[in-house]
């Protein structure tokens, strides 16, 4: 089964409804750009990626979670480029038979992505008018 993993330019658009046959628990986790980054007011985050390596690693991680946690389906989307405050940079969706494995897989996926997958953010600090 192929796992939809997409690295897209610019912020993610709203998600269309999604599920998988047999799933009893459908989890969606979205990362949204917060108005401050390390104490500074920002306008946006500028995301960069080592795209082919990030793509492969996201696919491998999603597949590992699918098998390890016995999930029904996984989708992953990550933005590159400018993502303004309040916009969505990341979306992980997991369909599983029950909630426990879905929540565990979400926590593990995100934690490992943040440790290892070559995705980068640079804050675009807000210019103060004087």
């Amino acid at each position: 089964m192929s796992i939809p993993v997409t690295i897209v330019d610019g912020p993610l658009s709203d998600a269309a409804p999604w599920s998988a046959p047999g799933a009893g628990a459908v989890l969606s986790f979205e990362g949204v750009v917060r108005p401050t980054e390390e104490g500074a007011d920002i306008d946006a985050l500028e995301y960069d990626a080592y795209r082919p390596m990030a793509q492969t690693m996201l696919e491998e991680l999603a597949r590992e979670m699918l098998e390890l946690h016995g999930l029904e389906a996984v989708t992953v989307e990550h933005a590159v480029g400018r993502v303004a405050v309040g916009q969505t940079s990341f979306r992980l969706r997991i369909a599983s038979q029950h909630r426990v494995e879905g929540l565990a897989a979400a926590a593990e996926f995100i934690s490992r992505m943040k440790d290892d997958i070559p995705l980068f953010k640079i804050p675009v600090v807000r210019e103060v008018m004087r």
Partner: protein, 81 residues
């Protein structure tokens, strides 16, 4: 030999480039040696010691061999999500 090293995120911003060319006499070096050469050639690139090296899209340990034919990337602290 010319080693082309790709940069991303903060390192690309610091260098003002998406890749840097590094002239090294040897045809192969370890990943750690590559980082030393890079720091020497581009002293403005301050974060190199804390970066990882990816060779052909896989992270490698500091002792692993890199050749000028490889796809080489300097990977700073990652921050996806």
């Amino acid at each position: 030999m010319t080693y082309r090293v790709m940069l991303f995120g903060a390192e690309a911003a610091a260098a003002g480039e998406r890749s840097l060319d590094l002239e090294i006499p040897e045809g192969s070096v370890t990943a750690d040696e590559l980082k030393l050469h890079l720091s020497e050639a581009y002293p403005g690139l301050s974060g190199v010691p804390s970066c990882r090296v990816a060779v052909n899209q896989k992270f490698v340990g500091g002792d692993e061999i890199v050749t000028s034919d490889d796809e080489i990337a300097l990977v700073g602290p990652v921050s996806g999500g």
